[in-house]
Every structure is written in structure tokens, then in C-alpha cells.
């Protein structure tokens, strides 16, 4: 038995909930959000710290409060948020197989918005050698564990090492300390100038930050006993600890995208979309950290809001644009989204139409992530020999934060031309 809805959103994190709220409010019809976990809200649920904006009275919000508000906003707008429901695969185009305690279901939608988020790469995916003891986890598991059990002593070991130099490493240090662990060191591969942790990690109680240092081995049988490290100058040491937290190094949780067979962007490993978050599969959109990982909740939510117009156009029978111009990076840039600058859609009802060249692609903002620290870099956007934009940025770019290039950077892209290249030099 197949049930039909207007919009199916997969994932009730900041992006999915914002999309659902916007779509329901705009009268998209039946908007259903599937969340595989027992509570909706996504990653912010486990981030008990400020930094999630403020409420109407200007009081700062922490992650759980932000998550509650996002769930409430989607529900009040009229979206149905279902938890404990897993989308396990595609039965047909725009039709998902679903498992829940209430049974199996097959849900067909007129449009699907994928918002399945991202995860931190675990130790194995980072190919860290050594034994396989207990006490090896990611920030995600650490925060979920503390959120689940409360900050009881010994929950995250007694002595911990944190791996990574992004802001999430600071959150890991804070969570470990709340759980009663001593943080022996933060180890990060990037040099000191390129970590989000200043001297002592910029904590009142300092933590040693070993920058330019790599983890070479985990030791211990049963429980972790130490982390072997090697510094840039070749010196080695073993840091005694019973817990190690691998932080950052995000990869989109892109199983449904892979099962669909649509192209992935090499830099992000997320699905390639156009500026309106359309994937190559007609009717299927992708938003939030599924596209790039590691962006803050407000960015993910902004993408959720931004997809609304294109989804409504889809529901109204507007055609699904085909083709488009690929966007790539050059130089010390890790990735750019969107991966495609599509031609402006034309009125009509057919599924996928190729448009006669030349067509101007509608200007859209780009999100660019540097690979390393870039001091006042010159950014350029080109298409073939045509220079579309060039500007020396006043700011220093850091590898844990993306920079948004406004739509004017892509104004004048030839929708039938060659690839657009975003480049940076110092």
C-alpha cells in the first residue's frame, strides 16, 4: 500500500524543519517530516551551550531550546513531524520505503527534500592504526552520551585526548570536562595559526594544544591506554589516556542520495545541486549539512528556508531543469556549493527539459570553504576566459568556516558555457 503526500522531508534537523515549516506555511499541502531518531531537532539537541541565536525577547538560546523551537515552528505551521521512522530506501521515483514500530510503509511524494545531515568521520575512516579498544568516539557520540545519561562522573573516562582543530574540538573539551574527565591535550594536524583553539585552547583552565601533530597509533587492550603522536618536527610521544574523541572531519550522511544514484560533489561528498537545491533526480531536493557537513545550524536552517520557493514551483508543475554549468574550485579551496548553476527554468509541465543555448543562469550565492588559513585572499570566479568576479577579501579565512559569496559573483554565467571555477590566492 502506497500513501501519497505532497512533500516528504527526510530528517528533522534545522534544515529539514525549516523547510517543512516554510512549505507548510506557504500552503504546500500535506508536508510530512520523517525523523529516524526518537526525538526531532537534530544535532542542536545535544549542544548544551549558547550560540544558537536568541528568542523574541533577546535571550540567548542553547541547542536544545533552539531544537524545541524549530520542531514547534514546523508543527504549528502544519507540518507533520514523525519520529522513530526510518526511510530505508527508494521503492520507485519519489517513493520511499519506511520502517517504524507501527510497521512498514511506502510513501510517495510529489517532492522529496533530503535533509539527512552529516557525521564526523570515525577513527576507522581516518585510518588511524593501532588496537581497537573501548574509549574511542566522536564528538557526536560524546555529546549524545552526556545528553542521554547526564554528566555523571566516569561517563567519558578519566583522562581524554581530543583530536581536531575546529570549534567542535572546543565543544568536545567542554563536554569532557563537564563529564568529569581531565583533557590531557588537543591534538591537531594543522599548524597553530590554523586552529580554532588559541593558547591553552582559550579556556580559563588551559588545555595543552599540540598543533601540527598527528595521531599515529592507538594503544590498549580492552580499554584505551594511550594515543601515540608525532609532531611536525618528527618528535614522538605517547599521551596516556583512557578516552580519545575524534572531532570534525565531516562527511554527509548520504545513503539515500547514493541509493538514488545522483552525482556527488567531489569536495563535499554531498549531492550536487543547483542554486535552488535541486538534485539531478526530478522532484528530489537536498539541503543542510547533507550538502557539505560542518555548517552551523543557522546556515542549515537558512538553506531549509531557501528551498521553499523551488519546491512550490515543482508542486505547481514547473519543469525540472536539466543541464546546467558545473562549479569547481581551484587553489587552496576545499569545496564550493552549489555544484551546479542551472539555467533559469521555463514554464511548462514536462519533467526534464534541455534548454536551447545560450541562456543566462540565474545568479545565486556561493558557499566556499578554504582548505587552510588564508590571509586576505584574492577570490576570483571565472567561466572560461570570462572573469565574473574578482575581489581581495578584507578578512582572514579559516578552514572551519565557510565564506558566502553574494549572488553578484555569479551574475552573467552562461548557462550553456563551460565550468565555473572559484579560485583563491593569497
Amino acid at each position: 500500500m502506497t500513501r501519497t503526500v505532497d512533500v516528504l522531508v527526510v530528517g528533522a534537523g534545522p534544515a529539514g524543519l525549516a523547510a517543512a515549516a516554510g512549505l507548510a506555511a506557504a500552503g504546500a499541502g500535506r508536508v510530512e517530516v520523517l525523523e529516524r531518531e526518537t526525538d526531532a531537532g537534530g544535532v542542536p539537541r545535544h549542544c548544551v551551550r549558547p550560540g544558537f541565536g536568541s528568542d523574541a525577547l533577546g535571550r540567548p538560546l542553547d541547542g536544545p531550546a533552539y531544537a524545541r523551537r524549530a520542531v514547534r515552528a514546523a508543527s504549528r505551521a502544519g507540518a507533520t513531524v514523525r519520529t522513530g521512522v526510518s526511510a530505508t530506501g527508494w521503492a520507485a521515483p519519489l517513493t520511499l520505503d519506511v520502517t517504524a514500530p507501527t510497521g512498514l510503509e511506502r510513501i510517495r511524494a510529489r517532492a522529496v527534500v533530503l535533509a539527512t545531515g552529516a557525521r564526523e568521520r570515525p577513527r576507522s575512516a581516518r585510518l588511524v592504526p593501532g588496537s581497537r579498544p573501548a574509549g574511542v568516539l566522536t564528538t557526536g557520540e560524546l555529546q549524545r552520551t552526556v545528553a542521554r545519561f547526564g554528566a555523571r562522573a566516569g561517563l567519558a573516562g578519566r583522562r581524554a585526548v581530543v583530536v581536531g582543530g575546529d570549534p567542535v574540538a572546543r565543544h568536545a573539551v567542554r563536554t569532557l570536562r563537564e563529564a568529569g574527565a581531565v583533557v590531557a591535550a588537543v591534538v591537531c594536524e594543522r599548524p597553530g595559526t590554523a586552529t580554532a583553539l588559541g593558547v591553552g585552547g582559550a579556556f580559563a583552565t588551559p588545555v595543552p594544544v599540540l598543533s601540527g601533530t598527528v595521531v599515529t597509533e592507538l594503544t590498549g587492550r580492552g580499554r584505551l591506554t594511550g594515543v601515540a603522536v608525532r609532531a611536525g618536527d618528527g618528535r614522538t610521544a605517547v599521551l596516556r589516556c583512557d578516552t580519545v574523541v575524534f572531532t570534525g572531519d565531516w562527511i554527509p550522511d548520504h545513503e539515500l542520495v547514493r541509493l538514488l544514484g545522483v552525482p556527488l560533489a567531489p569536495g563535499t561528498r554531498g549531492p550536487v545541486t543547483d542554486g535552488d537545491f535541486r538534485t539531478a533526480e526530478p522532484g528530489v531536493f537536498a539541503v543542510g549539512n547533507l550538502l557539505h557537513g560542518g555548517e552551523p545550524a543557522r546556515r542549515a536552517a537558512a538553506e531549509g528556508r531557501a528551498v521553499v520557493g523551488a519546491v512550490l514551483a515543482r508542486l505547481a508543475g514547473r519543469p525540472w531543469p536539466a543541464g546546467g554549468v558545473p562549479v569547481a574550485t581551484e587553489g587552496p579551496l576545499r569545496w564550493v556549493t552549489p555544484g551546479l548553476l542551472g539555467p533559469a527554468p521555463v514554464p511548462g509541465t514536462s519533467e526534464a527539459v534541455s534548454l536551447p543555448p545560450p541562456v543566462p543562469a540565474p545568479p545565486v550565492p556561493l558557499l566556499v570553504r578554504p582548505e587552510r588559513r588564508l590571509v586576505r585572499p584574492v577570490l576570483t570566479v571565472r567561466q572560461g576566459d570570462v572573469l565574473l568576479g574578482r575581489e581581495r577579501l578584507a578578512a582572514t579565512l579559516v578552514p572551519w568556516r565557510s565564506v558566502r559569496l553574494g549572488p553578484w559573483w555569479t551574475d552573467g554565467v552562461d548557462g550553456a558555457g563551460g565550468p565555473v571555477v572559484v579560485a583563491a590566492e593569497e
Binding site: T99, R119, G130, R132, T138, T145, F149, T219
Partner: protein, 472 residues
């Protein structure tokens, strides 16, 4: 009595067992199961807190045909028999097996020239269905193979299997049929005696009329406790890389290397869990606990894997691990009866132990009879049906009827491997419950997927505390 993991052993050596099998790996568990057919008092003991916690848990998970065994050896015979027995047993008990067949891929002229000889060897081992494939035929069979594959020998019947379920099925059936399983019970001393040997363990003394050494890597050490020094076990480490399920479509057969003078090479094989495995390395070591991976080992594997199946390297790595094979410097098993000691040593069971396990068990029963054991009449074993961990067989999360009967089978807890709350609970209430997260993973796949606990770790911990109460 069933399964014990802690506290003093019941009886303190009295009443004694007819047979004590030391070592609860795949071979020891198979022997205990075979003994359970008879009206005997049998104990299976292991130093670890779970069955199959040594070499049996970290291998290439292949059910071999024995096509390349040294003809005429005991190993060749037991692998051939064991393949047939385990294939049937797996069907009966729900152990996932996929008969994918193997391709020995030749990458240079020397390897190509070796293929006909390997086909002849297979024939001498009773396998007449091998076939030589030309490069174009090979490309059709394995379209993602790297450039430079010249030819291949096809070996039908080579299969992939779940090694964890296999050991657990034997041990479960043994326990349900009356065998006592004592875990966390390292034997530190053996006082030979008549009519009973006394085994001094960390948890007390066990009496044993007959004794079986199935200690795997430590078989030589246990022999020494009885004054024997027939062989030395040299651990040979095999490091393995498990790639993400997205790689599964890249390979259809078990891709075996052609053995040659330049070393054995590595294999690329699907797993029954829907992943792709690459390895193993072969490093002779001294340390029998060196189950860690190394930077060189992993880099070498990736380099070789990239030549065999280039697209493999684009996928994420789900797990890396290393296991130790029990090499004894002889190209055969070291299975020997010592009638004067009423003792059988089952040593040198190298990488083929999983395949041969059921045949080894029957063989050992015969040797125990030579040592004076009268097994008595045979009786049927308690039936056993194992939870399915295989991707090619129905899983609970897709079973509408099961979910309708018990909603917990619709509640997915481990999202990457799609393990439900119902399966977690079933593992904890099973005959041999897990002793920790690793044991739970080997029984359910929970936490074994691409996130390695990022999403499910906290919830699994909570469920373990809820359901695992009293089992640890």
C-alpha cells in the same frame, strides 16, 4: 549450569567432566558441539569473556572449497569435508552464506602461467569445475577490475560466510544440549592425574577425564602445561580493511590473488554484511597479542586494493582490524592424540579453521575414542536457529509480520546497519548473551557500520544497561 562468566567455578573440580575443551573459538566450539551429541559431561572453557574472541573473530570470513590445499594432507581432507558440512549446517541454522565463487586473477605473465597448474591442483583435490577465463570474459564478470588483468581461474563454490554467527551457533547448540561454557576462565596449570586431570583456572579447579587443546594461538603454550613441545605457534598477522557498503556493487566474486614467488598478495571480497573486505597482510610476529594495525600495513593494502579495484579507494573505510593466524612452520594441521595423557591437541589450524571446523570436530571425536573415551550412544542435538546478520537474507527491519507481532523490531537503533531494538533485546536474552559492546556487535552488527557509534553509541549503551542487567 549453562554459561558462567564470573565467580568460583561450580563444584570446585568435583564432580569432574568427561571432557574439557579448552579454547572456545570456532574449532573448540565445534568440538564441544560434536561431544554434546553423546551422554557425556562436557565443559568448554576460554580465557576471554566471549566465545570466538581470538582468531575466530578476525579473519577473511571465507568458506573455502580447499581447491588449493596441498593434496593428501589432513588439512586438504578436512577442508573439503568441512566445506560440505558447514554449507549444510549454515542453511539449517540460519548462518548467512553466499556462494559467490572465486576468481584468481592473474596480473602478469608468470601468474597467468600458474593458472593451469592451479586448475590441476584443484582437480587433485576433487574440484573439477574450475574454468579458465580470458581477459574479455573476466572484464564481463568484473567490470570494475583495474587495468592489466590478463586472465583468471574461476573457482565455483568458494563462499563468504559470517564467522561470528558460526562460532556462536556451535557454542549455543552445545550449551543448549548440556555443555557447560565457562568464560573468563584462563587455565593456568594442569595437574595430570588418573582418572582425572585437574585444571587450575583463575576461577577454581576443573576435573577432566579427557582434555582437548583448542587454544589456537596458544596451543603450544597449553601443550607445555602437559609437558609436550611438539611445535611452536608463530603468530602471522593479517591486517584487513573493510570498505563501506557503497563499494559492494563494485565486486561480484571473491577476488583471490595467484600465489607466487613474490608473496601471496591480497584478496578483495564481499562480506555477508554487504561490505567489501581487502587484505590480509601476512606478517610473522612474536607477540601473540599484537592484533593492532599499522600505518605501513594499511598503506600497503590500499595501494594493492587500488590496483585490483581502483574505485574502491573512493569509498569510506568502515573498519580496520587485524587477526593472527596460528602458523606452525608446517603446511598442515597439527592434530595429535596423546593416549597416555587422554589428551588431544588441535594445533596449527591456520586460515582454514572456520571452513574445516565441523570436520575437525568429527576427526577429534575419533581421536578421543583412541584415547579411551567411550562416547556412548548418539542423540539429537537441541535445535538452533540463529538471528540473520546477512544482507542477502531477510532482516527484521523489513519484516512486516515480525514488526506487527513485536513493534520493537520496527524500532531501528543502529541506523547504518539497521539493527532494531528487538534484535538488541534478543541478543541479551539469548543462550550466550554478549559481555560488552564488541560481543553485541558480533551478535547483531550494531555499531559495526559506517558511523561506528556516532549516531547509535549512546542509545546502545542505554539499551545494554537496560537489557544487559544481570548478564555481566
Amino acid at each position: 549450569m549453562g554459561v558462567t562468566r564470573r565467580g568460583p567455578l561450580p563444584g570446585d573440580g568435583d564432580p569432574a567432566y568427561d571432557v574439557v575443551v579448552v579454547g572456545a573459538g570456532v574449532v573448540g566450539a565445534a568440538i564441544a558441539r560434536a561431544l554434546a551429541r553423546h551422554p557425556l559431561r562436557v565443559a568448554l572453557v576460554d580465557a576471554a569473556d566471549d566465545v570466538g574472541d581470538g582468531t575466530s573473530k578476525a579473519n577473511t570470513a571465507i568458506l573455502h572449497t580447499g581447491f588449493d590445499a596441498v593434496p593428501g594432507t589432513l588439512e586438504a581432507r578436512l577442508v573439503r569435508e568441512g566445506h560440505r558440512l558447514l554449507d549444510a549446517y549454515a542453511r539449517q541454522t540460519g548462518i548467512p552464506v553466499e556462494p559467490l565463487g572465486a576468481l584468481l586473477v592473474a596480473w602478469d605473465e608468470q601468474q597467468r602461467a600458474a593458472l593451469p597448474r592451479l586448475a590441476q591442483k584443484a582437480e587433485r583435490n576433487g574440484h573439477r569445475t574450475t574454468r579458465l577465463l580470458s581477459a574479455p570474459e573476466l572484464a564481463l564478470r568484473e567490470p570494475h577490475l583495474g587495468a592489466g588483468a590478463l586472465a583468471a581461474l574461476e573457482v565455483p563454490g568458494e563462499s563468504v560466510i559470517c564467522p561470528w554467527t558460526t562460532t556462536l551457533a556451535y557454542a549455543t547448540q552445545a550449551v543448549r544440549s548440556g555443555v557447560d561454557l565457562h568464560l573468563s576462565c584462563r587455565v593456568e596449570e594442569v595437574r595430570p592425574g588418573d582418572p582425572y586431570h585437574r585444571l587450575v583456572t583463575r576461577r577454581g579447579v576443573l576435573g577432566a577425564r579427557h582434555l582437548v587443546n583448542a587454544c589456537g594461538l596458544h596451543a603450544d603454550g597449553f601443550d607445555a602445561l602437559l609437558g609436550r613441545a611438539d611445535f611452536t605457534v608463530t603468530p602471522r598477522r593479517g591486517q584487513l580493511v573493510v570498505f563501506d557498503k557503497f563499494a559492494r556493487d563494485l565486486v561480484r566474486h571473491i577476488l583471490l590473488p595467484v600465489p607466487g614467488p613474490l608473496g601471496k598478495g591480497v584478496l578483495v571480497s564481499p562480506t555477508v554484511y554487504g561490505n567489501v573486505m581487502l587484505g590480509p597482510t601476512a606478517e610473522d610476529l612474536d607477540d601473540k597479542t599484537a592484533t593492532g594495525t599499522t600505518a605501513e600495513g594499511l598503506a600497503g593494502l590500499r595501494e594493492q586494493g587500488g590496483r585490483i579495484l581502483p574505485a574502491l579507494l573512493d569509498e569510506e573505510v568502515t573498519a580496520v582490524y587485524a587477526g593472527l593466524r596460528a602458523a606452525t612452520g608446517q603446511e598442515d594441521y597439527r592434530i595429535a592424540a596423546h593416549p597416555a595423557l587422554r589428551y588431544v591437541t588441535v594445533g596449527g589450524i591456520r586460515s582454514t579453521g572456520l571452513t574445516a571446523s565441523l570436520a575437525i570436530a568429527d576427526h577429534v571425536l575419533g581421536l578421543l575414542a583412541d584415547c579411551g573415551l567411550d562416547p556412548g550412544p548418539e542423540r539429537p542435538l537441541a535445535p538452533v536457529r540463529m538471528p540473520n546478520l546477512g544482507e542477502s537474507f531477510p532482516r527484521p527491519y523489513r519484516d512486516a509480520g515480525l514488526i506487527a507481532r513485536n513493534a520493537e523490531f520496527g524500532a531501528i537503533v543502529c541506523h547504518c546497519e539497521r539493527v532494531t531494538r528487538g534484535e538488541i533485546r534478543a541478543a541479551f536474552t539469548s543462550t550466550i548473551p554478549p559481555a560488552g559492546p564488541d560481543g553485541l556487535r558480533r551478535r547483531t552488527r550494531a555499531r559495526g557500520g559506517r558511523c561506528q557509534g556516532h549516531f547509535c553509541g549512546a542509545e546502545l549503551r542505554a539499551l545494554s544497561e537496560e537489557y544487559g542487567e544481570g548478564t555481566r
